[in-house]
Amino acid sequence: MARDREGGTREQGTGKRNDPTRVVLRGGRVVDPSQRLDATGDLVLSDGKVENFWRAGDTTYGDDYRVVDCDGLVVSPGFIDVHCHLREPGREDVETIATGARAAAVGGFTAVCAMPNTQPVTDNQAAVGFVLRQGQTANAARVHPIGAISLGQEGKALAEFGEMVGAGAVAVSDDGRPVASAHLMRTALEYARTFGIPVADHCEEPTLAAGGAMNEGIVSARLGLKGIPSEAEEIMVIRDILLARRTGGHVHLCHMSTKGSVELIRWGKERGIRVTAEACPHHLSLTEDVVNGYNTNALCATGPSISSRRTTRRTTTMRRSGSSRTRLTGSSAWRRRWPS
């Protein structure tokens, strides 16, 4: 984020003084993968849009430019987090839409999508409208609500996608819980086509994952913690991809963490199936070894799994090869809780 060297905080643009129409972000490291750009230079903005980019040099700017010194800073497009838990309504003691949207803005995110596993569940147009309005009031990162797939996220009856999209929902998901019923997933993918929205799934086969605390492997065996096999994720991944092929719907796979999932997603993409996926920073940078010594912070940081070394390396490959189209932080506030 750019900030004035002299003033400390950036002017808000409300002052009458001169009001230069153009802004120059000078001398920052400008990174934009979509333009294959990673270079130091000056970014010229006009009316809030990028007008020009000058590689590092001694360009001088007249009085109608407001120059912001970005030396030593990274200048990038605003990030979009497609998978956030803002916890409001229901758990305002942990996070509110306002605190989440402000935290996102501070971290360089200009838009976030709020998952619907709130209390009560965001499964109708009124609830979606509430999230949208709270996001607007927060006046930080834009907040895009995601509606539930099923009423109450109970995995039984479809929620009203049409009305939720009308109220501002950008996708549907039962995230926090997997869509256990293949029939419900199929119906959701079909029905969502009318509204052009993706169906995002928390991929975790519930009978394989039941009671699990971490990735199944040598670390779970040593610690005596119940493991979740990677197949719990992969079985749902291939099920969802096959259902997307059958229905022509767009499936979005949440927080992928295993090598097998990446291979299955690649398989689906090669066949033109509408599948997108996301990965979390901690799945790329941490391994199951962080759970050693009963590090309970590591345990609660991820529902599905922090995987083995090999798996993590593979998910990193996914990031580089572009198998995954979106990225996220998986940002979710958790209340620290000691076992009783």
Partner: protein
């Protein structure tokens, strides 16, 4: 002086072979105390020890209590029911409140893996793990080692097979680490649904058939098959378990050598072990229980900072 074991005894996995041998060697002179008419020495007089048992236990709780009392410590037993845990107090708050009453040690049994370590990192008192979830049960592992050493002299190169529900067994984990550190070869045998998926990475031989395990082993440590494993869908029936994996006299008679039989108790006679075997000539199950008191006395003594070389002398100061 600093105790040679550190502050706590949480697991056997992090211990060195020397530390394990030290505990076993320290247990030797303590064995004799329990054979006296007046089974008491003043070694831990004035120490206060709390036994926090959040899970049902007969053998381990009473064994610890005898060990503490025979060393003259003052002890209090706290169970989950009838304590403020039922009112929603957290484990740490319970322990901190006890600590505020100036205690010296906590012995904890808990259903969650890692509970003992969690507590140890948050209180000043010495913590002894008396079984945490499906993680470890270090004093059980130590008493098994002591019993095997009594019979074999040394564990170096000996072949010991752990039979049954290794997946959910804290006894199995403590045994695997302890035996390997003392140089024994370790086997495990049971239905694959009751073995960890990554079992071979633990550095043990895996036997799918109990007959093969019996042919290989010099000692079997037969684990208790918990009835809830059948309800959990890990095995179809106790009857079939006995037919396929039960340690029976018929199977042992076909072994190429006499096999020492251990069991951590409580036994399900007719399921994992037949009565003929449990009560047979090669069963050391009750010796394990006897050794349990001595091993726990040794652990209490060492954690309290007692110098190992004085263990022999310590018992001399009896009230006799």
């Amino acid at each position: 002086m600093t105790a040679p074991l550190g502050k706590d005894l949480l697991a056997l996995e992090p211990l060195t072979p020397e530390q394990i041998r030290l505990i076993l060697d320290t247990a030797e002179p303590f064995k004799e105390i329990s054979e006296r008419a007046i089974k008491k020495v003043p070694t831990l007089r004035g120490s206060t020890i709390v036994n926090l048992f959040f899970e049902a236990s007969t053998r381990t709780r009473i064994s610890f209590e005898f060990a503490e009392k025979r060393l003259s410590a003052d002890t209090v037993n706290v169970g989950a029911s009838g304590s403020s845990v039922t009112k929603g107090e957290t484990l740490v708050d319970t322990a901190r409140n006890l600590e505020a009453m100036r205690i010296d040690m906590v012995v904890i049994r808990h259903s969650a893996s890692g509970a003992a370590q969690f507590l140890a990192e948050r209180i000043e008192s010495n913590v002894i793990n008396a079984g945490d979830g499906t993680h470890e049960h270090p004093t059980q592992g130590l008493l098994d080692l002591l019993t095997l050493r009594d019979h074999f002299g040394t564990l170096e190169g000996r072949r010991v097979c752990i039979c049954g529900d290794v997946l959910h067994s804290r006894v199995a984990r403590s045994n695997i680490w302890g035996l390997k550190k003392l140089g024994a070869q370790v086997g495990v045998c049971g239905p694959r649904s009751l073995l960890p998926n990554a079992v071979s990475e633990l550095g043990v031989e895996v036997f799918d058939r109990i007959e093969a395990a019996i042919e290989w082993a010099e000692a079997l440590n037969v684990l208790r098959l918990q009835l809830e494993r059948m309800q959990g869908g890990y095995i179809p029936s106790l009857r079939e378990y006995n037919r396929v994996f039960g340690v029976t006299r018929e199977r042992l008679e076909r072994a190429p050598r006499d096999i020492l039989i251990l069991h951590p108790g409580p036994m399900n006679r007719g399921v994992e072990i037949d009565s003929d075997v449990a009560d047979g000539p090669h069963s050391v199950i009750l010796e394990q229980v006897t050794n349990g008191v001595a091993v726990r006395m040794a652990v209490l003594y060492l954690l309290a900072g007692g110098p190992p070389e004085l263990a022999e002398a310590a018992k001399g100061g009896s009230d006799r």
